[in-house]
């Protein structure tokens, strides 16, 4: 994979400015995602995972949240510099997102059909003038690799009517063509009787079913980048397993770039190619999953992995990390982890703290760690 990265997050810092003070939700987050790869983001509750997921497509509510610095470059466009009214042109076909709460992520007032058809319609309107050559294959033929957003649509918001030519290009919502695509989308997420399901309202469906429809709706736009923000955390354990299996199968099928956010190390280990470990609003370690999880080069990652329950080990108390997560309003100087770090040395508290540096200088885009003493971690 020597392609240009689909997403580059460069030195992104986000603050929440509320009455209680200023919270540094993200501090100098940097990583990049290569096309067709699954990048996992793992960390404890409150470490900024969701803020990161929302910051990328510009979903953060602007009065409390403020982007202090940095860039989010998606397919060569800096989204933080894009005017607000242009953001919709990137969303959907460019960046799709599956949310944590399937119970709330579908509109309760519309039938499943209308919601999925709306997504398909948005995509079809944008496909006008797309460079994509379409020959053979079904509507869900992803074998040609990830879709690319035609640059011509950036800057053209999707408005109710749109120019006449555009309306003529996209069939009306009730057309059999759209209906076929909706059924295809539902079958893609292994819904057995889509004919019945598409007539239903979200409240008539279970949580797992709603999450499948959410995934179907998002994939129906064939996004170049899919952000999955803890897509299984709110589900029952058995349903979690089903949805994870589905997502794993879909990853192999659609080969799009996925940013998979989870607090579950096991899930990330199974799903992701690359992983970023977050602590107190920073990415403190980044690299290929196998390398990061087998040879962690940051004391926090190491402690986190040792704290995870392991069936192969003998019974006994689980290891824990001493101390507690610092408040985002009063982060310790230097490395945010140093007060809890068993390897900390006096200069760890000195500003500026470490930033991500390659573990192996010969491989600058491989395994990286934000620890002064990365090489000394056992």
């Amino acid at each position: 994979m020597t392609d240009a990265p689909v997403l580059v997050v460069d030195d992104l810092s986000v603050d929440y400015e509320v009455a209680a003070g200023r919270f540094h939700a993200l501090s100098n987050v940097s990583f990049e995602m290569l096309p067709g790869r699954v990048t996992g983001i793992v960390g404890e509750t409150g470490c900024g995972k969701s803020t990161l997921a929302h910051a990328i497509p510009g979903l953060l509510p602007s009065p409390p949240a403020r982007i202090r610095s940095g860039k989010v470059v998606f397919q060569g466009t800096d989204l933080t510099a894009l005017p607000r009214w242009k953001l919709p042109t990137v969303r959907g076909t460019g960046i799709g997102m599956v949310f944590q709460e399937p119970l709330n992520s579908l509109n309760p007032a519309y039938r499943v059909f209308d919601q999925v058809a709306e997504a398909i319609r948005v995509r079809r309107l944008r496909e006008k003038g797309a460079v994509r050559a379409r020959s053979g294959g079904g509507p869900f033929d992803y074998s040609r690799g990830p879709a690319t957003t035609p640059t011509s649509t950036i800057g053209r918001p999707f408005l109710p009517g749109g120019p006449v030519e555009e309306r003529m290009r996209s069939p009306p919502v009730r057309s059999p063509e759209i209906r076929t695509e909706v059924l295809e989308a539902l079958r893609l997420v292994r819904i057995n009787d889509p004919e019945t399901i598409l007539r239903l309202y979200p409240h008539e469906l279970s949580g797992g079913m709603r999450q499948r429809i959410m995934i179907a709706q998002t994939l129906a736009e064939r996004p170049s980048l899919l952000i999955a923000d803890e897509p299984t955390s709110a589900l029952d354990v058995t349903i979690q397993a089903q949805v994870l299996t589905l997502m794993k199968e879909l990853i192999d099928e659609i080969r799009t770039s996925i940013l998979f956010i989870s607090h579950d190390l096991g899930v990330i280990a199974e799903m992701a190619d690359d992983v970023g470990v977050m602590y107190a609003g920073r990415v403190i370690e980044f690299g290929p999953v196998a390398s990061v999880f087998e040879h962690p080069r940051h004391p926090y990652t190491r402690a986190l992995l040792r704290a995870a329950p392991d069936r192969s080990k003998a019974d006994g108390p689980l290891e824990s990390i001493p101390g507690s997560v610092p408040s985002l309003a009063r982060l310790p100087g230097g490395c945010a982890f140093h007060p809890r770090c068993v390897y900390a040395r006096p200069n760890c508290g000195e500003n500026p703290g470490p930033s991500l540096r390659p573990v192996d200088p010969a491989d600058p885009l491989g395994h990286r760690s934000a620890c002064w003493y990365a090489a000394e971690i056992p």
Partner: protein, 387 residues
């Protein structure tokens, strides 16, 4: 008679034995819809979702509920007016009349019977179309048929203004919550809500009308208009007659009283829209609509407002009741020949049959508006069952 199968064993009721385990479709990945609301014995495909026949039944049931409701509220309206005018015969016959004349009058109008019996006599006559006669000799039913359409026109225009202005400003207030547009909207609707109708109407006539150059009296500048009035709706009549200048003139005359009525009753609708939009806007499905790539306009008005409107409809019925009662003052101030003015004149001239008739029409109007709001609520909220 017990049927015997070939094996000689009695066959159980159909669908009992093995079918208990094999009967349903149970593919590995089927995590189907929740059948929480319907009996699990019903077929899957026929009962899920709401059908059009369910809607007819839903509306029919509510229309049936209208009957006891109308009997109840009209009884209250009737009795209240009887309390206000304990003995209309004294007024009609005259204070100095012989007591025998007053007694004869009471007997003639059935006033010596118990009030409940009087109400049912009235109801019977009301249903027969005999709503009594005003002192002037005009049947109340005739007057109401002439005046009510004008009120309807005023109320519907005001309601339209509330929906087209009150709801969007509620949306804007929610979107800019805590910032100046929100405060501006709050001042606007609280001011309207706190202003008594008579004050608002008089201020509109004295200060607003000359400034905007709007007419303040009647339906047309030149009454009666040179065309027949089959509907008694000023704009519609002019349009039916093909008289466009008159239609425009009628619209101008309609504008200020309707706007006054709308502004003074907009409060709850705007407030309800604002608060339910505030509850809806941070929800995930608004975010997922945004992530579909929809414009902010579609996200707001197609996705967020669609669900926020469900709670707004609940107050629309109350608002129509407020509009109807507001017409009594507004029509009097703007000399609008509607039911409100008729009721005002009936009350001030001790026209008891007229007062009762107007009150009952107002009551039915308010009940019908609430019924419509109720039906609208059921249609808008897919969680309401039409069964």
């Amino acid at each position: 008679m017990l049927l015997r199968s070939r094996g000689g064993q009695p066959s159980g009721p159909p669908g009992y034995g093995l079918s208990l385990f094999y009967g349903g479709r149970l593919p590995a990945f089927r995590c189907g819809p929740r059948y929480g609301r319907s009996a699990p014995t019903r077929g899957v495909d026929s009962t899920l979702g709401r059908s059009r026949s369910d809607l007819v039944w839903f509306i029919g049931k509510r229309l049936l509920l209208l009957i006891p409701l109308i009997i109840g509220v009209t009884a209250i309206a009737f009795i209240l007016i009887r309390i206000a005018f304990p003995d209309p015969c004294v007024i009609w016959v005259g204070g100095h009349a012989k007591s025998s004349a007053i007694a004869a009058c009471r007997a003639a109008f059935g006033l010596n019977q118990p009030i409940v019996a009087q109400y049912f006599i009235y109801l019977k006559q009301f249903l027969a179309g005999n709503w009594g006669v005003s002192p002037g000799g005009i049947p109340v039913a005739t007057s109401i048929a002439e005046y009510f359409p004008a009120t309807l026109e005023l109320v519907i225009t005001a309601l339209l203004l509330i929906v087209l202005v009150g709801i969007p400003i509620g949306v804007i207030a929610a979107q800019s919550s805590g910032r100046w547009p929100d405060h501006l909207v709050r001042i606007f609707y609280l001011g309207g809500w706190a202003t008594p109708t008579y004050l608002g109407a008089i201020v509109a006539v004295i200060f607003v009308a000359p400034y905007l150059g709007l007419p303040t009296s009647g339906m047309y500048s030149h009454s009666p208009p040179p065309f027949p009035q089959p509907t008694h709706l000023s704009v519609i009549d002019a349009l039916l007659a093909g008289n466009l200048p008159y239609a425009g003139n009628a619209l101008l005359h309609l504008l200020l009283p309707a706007a006054t009525l709308a502004l003074l009753n907009m409060g709850i609708v705007t407030r309800m829209t604002r608060s339910s939009m505030l509850a809806v806007l941070p929800l995930d499905y608004v975010k997922s609509a945004r992530m579909k790539g929809l414009s902010e306009f579609l996200v707001t008005y197609k996705h967020a407002l669609r669900t926020a409107l469900i709670s707004t409809t609940t107050v629309l019925g109350i608002t129509v009741a407020g509009l109807l009662s507001g017409t009594v003052v507004v029509e009097e101030v703007f000399a609008w020949p509607g039911l409100g003015q008729f009721a005002y004149d009936a009350i001030t001239s001790s026209n008891v049959p007229g007062t009762v008739g107007a009150a009952i029409i107002f009551t039915i109007g308010a009940v019908a508006a609430n019924l419509l709001a109720d039906i609208l609520y059921g249609v808008l909220d897919p969680k309401v069952e039409w069964r």
